[in-house]
């Protein structure tokens, strides 16, 4: 896709790029969550989730800081294995 974009010289406008980069950087600046702390949080979170949801994939958990419309968010994505125990 980026190949096509380059081919037709239709790169994303730099103002949009600037805005997205700024939003990401500012959330991290504001929350002051270091990468180490984020890893710790993930480890504890997976332990808790595993206790309640056996289908969870602890190794696949992703925690990200996001800029929301009205407030910033700490978002955790916890993928679940498809299980068919109920059938």
């Amino acid at each position: 896709m980026s190949f096509l974009n380059n081919l037709f010289n239709k790169r994303e406008r730099s103002a949009q790029v600037a805005k997205e980069r700024l939003l990401t950087v500012l959330v991290h600046d504001r929350v002051k969550l270091t990468p180490e702390k984020l890893e710790e949080l993930k480890a504890e979170l997976s332990a808790v989730v595993a206790r309640y949801v056996p289908e969870a994939e602890p190794a696949e958990i992703e925690v990200t800081l996001l800029r929301g419309e009205s407030s910033d968010m700490l978002k955790a994505d916890i993928p679940l294995r498809r299980s068919r125990h109920d059938e």
Binding site: R13, S14, A15, A18, K19, L26
Partner: protein, 266 residues
């Protein structure tokens, strides 16, 4: 009693000193009694931007350390009899001033003026702390660049932590052609990112370079778009309701045309 307004930015080189000189002059042109204080100890600049560098005898540190009375150190503007400059010390070490000194100084000056503008040094260290110490209000200057906006965000946090109330924003050096092409952050985008109230937008304008070369201030120049933008900022600071983006009526037809496609409607 004067309102003490500090002009600051975080990042250097975004136009704090130019803003202070133009805003102070524009307020004085409206008939207000104005003092501008150069709080960038060791890096004196506001005097040359205002063209008053040859008149300096005493400076801010001389006043604080008691070698000169305030009245002796204040330099009267070349044109406006109610505009005064208190210059920064050029050689002295910047540890000479404390936040308490700045509070005492601004308190001493308050009864004699309507506005006291404090030109802050860049950074978030002692000089910045001194500059906001005596302030009732803070104006943050930024340019539409990622580094300047990021630093402005830090300053917003520090100003709020110092309980100076919500700072207001001046966006300097907007190039409307680049904005319309989607290659520069717009006023709306910067305001959305920083989430503080804008008090003005100043176009990128070569008349600023020329007037600064001459030691004149752009607000005197009828043909300067930036000068007009600063006059509008002064009106808003004084409480008038002036719509933002007044300068975009200078856009060319093509800019407007492409602007229709390049970004959201205002």
């Amino acid at each position: 009693m004067a309102r003490v307004i500090t002009i600051t930015s975080g990042k250097g080189g975004v136009g704090k000193t130019t803003t202070t000189a133009n805003l102070g002059t524009a307020l004085a042109m409206r008939g207000a009694r104005v003092a501008v204080i150069d709080a960038d100890i060791g890096l004196r600049n506001l005097d040359v931007v205002m063209g008053l560098e040859n008149r300096i005898v005493y400076d801010l540190v001389d006043v604080i350390e008691g070698r000169a009375r305030l009245r002796q150190a204040l330099i009267k503007d070349k044109r406006l009899p109610e505009l005064f400059l208190l210059p920064a010390a050029q050689t002295r070490d910047k540890e000479a001033v404390t936040p308490e000194d700045m509070i005492a100084l601004t308190n001493q000056m308050r009864p004699d003026f309507d506005y006291i503008l404090v030109d802050s040094p860049a950074g978030i260290e002692g000089g910045f702390r001194n500059a906001i110490a005596g302030a009732n209000e803070v104006l943050i200057v930024t340019t539409p660049e990622v580094s300047a906006v990021r630093d402005a965000d830090r300053i917003v946090g520090l100003v709020e932590a110092a309980e100076k109330g919500p700072p207001r924003l001046i966006i300097n050096r907007i190039n409307s052609r680049l904005v319309n092409r989607g290659e520069m952050l717009s006023m709306e985008e910067v305001v959305e990112i920083l989430a503080i109230e804008p008090v003005g937008v100043v176009p990128d304008d070569e008349t600023i370079v020329i007037s600064t070369n001459r030691g004149e201030v752009a607000v005197f120049d009828q043909h300067s778009q930036a000068g007009r933008a600063f006059v509008n900022i002064a009106r808003r600071v004084a409480g008038e309701d002036v719509p933002l983006m007044a300068f975009t009526d200078q856009q060319g037809v093509l800019d407007r045309f492409f602007g229709l496609f390049g970004r959201k409607a205002r």
